[in-house]
Symmetry: C2
Amino acid sequence: MSQSLRELAKRRGLFFISQGSYGGSAGFYTFGPVGNEVKNNIVEEWRDVFVRGLGNMEIDAPTVMKEDVFQASGHVDTFDDMILECPNCGRSHRGDHLVEDETELEEAEGLPTEKIEELVEENDIGCPSCGEALAGVEVSEFNLMFDTDIGPGDSETGYLRPETAQGIFVDFPRLKQYARNQLPFGVAQVGRGYRNEISPRGGLSRVREFTMAELEQFILEGQKPELSEVEDVTLRILSREMQENGETPADMTPVEAVEDGVVESEWIAYFLGRAQTFYERIGIHPGRLRFRQHQADELSHYASDCWDAETDVGSEGRDWLEVTGFAFRGCYDLKKHHEHSESDYTVFREFDEPREVEEISVDPDMSWLGPELGDGAEKAVERLQELAESEPERFEKQSSVEIENGSGTMGIPVDKTGFSRETVEKNGEHVLPQVVEPSFGIGRLVYSVLTHSLDTDEVDGEERTLLRLPSEVAPADVAVLPLMDRDGLTDRAREVASTLRNKGLEVRFDSSGSIGRRYRRMDEIGVPLCVTVDYGTLGEEEETEKNTVTLRDRDTTEQERTDISELADRLA
Amino acid sequence: MSQSLRELAKRRGLFFISQGSYGGSAGFYTFGPVGNEVKNNIVEEWRDVFVRGLGNMEIDAPTVMKEDVFQASGHVDTFDDMILECPNCGRSHRGDHLVEDETELEEAEGLPTEKIEELVEENDIGCPSCGEALAGVEVSEFNLMFDTDIGPGDSETGYLRPETAQGIFVDFPRLKQYARNQLPFGVAQVGRGYRNEISPRGGLSRVREFTMAELEQFILEGQKPELSEVEDVTLRILSREMQENGETPADMTPVEAVEDGVVESEWIAYFLGRAQTFYERIGIHPGRLRFRQHQADELSHYASDCWDAETDVGSEGRDWLEVTGFAFRGCYDLKKHHEHSESDYTVFREFDEPREVEEISVDPDMSWLGPELGDGAEKAVERLQELAESEPERFEKQSSVEIENGSGTMGIPVDKTGFSRETVEKNGEHVLPQVVEPSFGIGRLVYSVLTHSLDTDEVDGEERTLLRLPSEVAPADVAVLPLMDRDGLTDRAREVASTLRNKGLEVRFDSSGSIGRRYRRMDEIGVPLCVTVDYGTLGEEEETEKNTVTLRDRDTTEQERTDISELADRLA
């Protein structure tokens, strides 16, 4: 993060490390009054595009969830980072970051722990805190979920969710009902996510608690999005192949990306297009934005393809920050919950016309199987069912079938298995939907927007700092300022502010300090317009018949007088 | 919760126990698509009244905070419930609830654990789960904060915040700067709070994770709110005295409540007034709302006075649910953080005019004290300072003062103490602000609003269920429905929906099923108006020149035709 943004953030209440009185809490930020408004505005714009704009549902699930859910989702087993503890000072470090910082390797996250140990040794990497040589130190896996105990005594383990997504997936059996089983449909969620980072970095780029906005788009294989809706959008694309060839990003539309085979999933291409529009609306600089495809070893355990939207948050286009992941999760998550729980995560897909389908089943004669097999009977039934599906011919060509039975094999007469193979007419089938997920990091977007908006220029011979925020995300639409705090100007200004508020505008009011200083303050927090109430407003200036105010533009600092009766309509 | 609300909640996606596929997670709810909209709307109304309406700031602090903070705030030591574990089945129960359920006692929360043990024994209370007699079982304190570990290895304990308030208090030294040290000012926060309830109850009334909206109003002693702003509001008041006398609530305005001495703090009276307006706007039934003062033994550890807004969520006015606490926290929290941390939580309060202030200080001669006392010198200096402030005359009337010194006392010559007493002129002083806190439980408000809105009537000889939600909190302003899904009606209806959306209206669209069934669906989720697009809209009916739609009112089911060109303006 740039020094100037860091200072501005503190001075003007954008964001700051939380609990500073107690030394701060690494990786935990508080959004101050101004930062919180920007953040809330970005969330509302997101809802406009991805919830209301696409006719999607939004839900609000808990942040603390049961262990069962994350066992099923794979997070308990695989949501890890590589950790390495310095034997001298006891500080913990991320193995992949150590290697990336100290070698030519740009991406070490996908490497196995043994490889990291090797690289640490080969490159004589030392502890960043105390300098101790780390060769020979074990690299292990550290689970990034915060855990806690739910309830007293007979408590069960719970986790702070690492993504809002699982709150949607796990209750899909209910959500599909609200969508009346009609796919495609999308379910969104905005809320907290948590990652117990080994070593949080400065600024909002790697934190332990963050706000996410996620959309889970449920589709059936073959269903297509309306790519024509995003045909006018241009994306800067950096595919896996382009990265391997050392190429620079190429500009193309979502349709071109699909037609040229650069983006495989039409749904991902569609969401890249929607996101591009969203980014521009909130003030991400198009020239400092790119869509980069994951390398195979970067992919999360649930994703078969993934694109990141990355913003340039450095000064030389070298520091790219992931602000959104567009993942093709397939039916990974729903399949896991379908298998791990008792509920049905499928939807019924009607065929275009009824189809002849072959049904194979067994219905064993338990009065024979029971006495014959005792406790093993139940397992034998399962094996018969499996065998019938995989090798039905064995039931048809022989008089008995052999199945494994603990120590050996045993033959079961086919006429005791109740084997049948028949052709039936079906109108459809139960299938697990696939999921395409755009997942936005709201804090990182705030950070990117502020970085891209922060500017300095010279006004009246003095350097001025300003945030060139679009009015959609600015902490207010307009500031109302009395020229001075006397002669009834303040009261008149309050009336003006109140009138504008009633028109639905977000209004700031400030009456303390010189008017120049107040302009600078509003520039620094990105308020696009200032309305100054002066003696002309009171109708006391003789040369004018009208009651006017000064309207000042943040970006140009140009001022013009406008009649107060026209003000509200003009701003609205 | 009523059976009909429970069923409606499931059927229409208001809310449901989360993670139902894994048996559900007690005390953790998911707001479905409709419930989430109602919830978000209530939050926005709250911001309208308590943030924007009062010119307050809003921040967003982490939900996981360091142990230091909750050590200081008193939550580690005192945020407990009484727990009692059944020796037979191992289930845990809340001691006070057991006693309340099984005896005449209405409020047992404030009793000591020994008293609960006595009452369990005297009343032969058995385990609610298995029936085992609980006499003789120990009642202990169970801390209600969820804990977790922050970071790996050298990790520190963190807690999920039990209230958003501490995130505001702990960073007050920074927040006062954003308010330029001008009090009064208010800081709001909307976000999650957590309580690891021993036995969560059904519905949204006692959950383990919830959304709160809190306002911390910082004031200096003597500063007054503008009570005139709430002079037209009527409150149903049930004071501590009225409860003791078995009286029913009395109607009065905030001004009357203060003048009659019923509500001591003018700030609390002011916020009761603001809240009353808010409750009415979101659809709380005024006749099912009251403000009840806490009994002395109900008060939280930080509060010196507290009023609860309670809503009647039962069927006979017997089941009152706390939806808001209005607590006078004094300077409790800021003082604790001021003492426990290194930061300054005071603000400078200017006197109306400069005052003569007596300053007493010591400045001991360490070259004498050091050799004389060795390691005890530092403590001796502290004691001298205390003594000088409490009994300055001892420094003035004697040539030596005696202080305690480990085992005995020792005399120190006054001329070695550097004692001075002087009168200086001061412009002001550093003081700790006081805090008045209205704290709203958003989930409980959603629950109350739904309970008060749920109604049944008879339409066309059939029973109809509807939510009589105010348009401010309804999940949509209007539903647009094609009469049938054919003859271009659906496309025309989509155009109408799109036009209305562009006017800023929240619009639902539904084209599946009979029109009657769709009306019922919209009634059940509380959409106030339906627009039906039919053949008249297409201009195909000969008897009319105009293109009209049907506008149907949820509450009356009355329908009228209105010209499509006037529709948007009429609804907006």
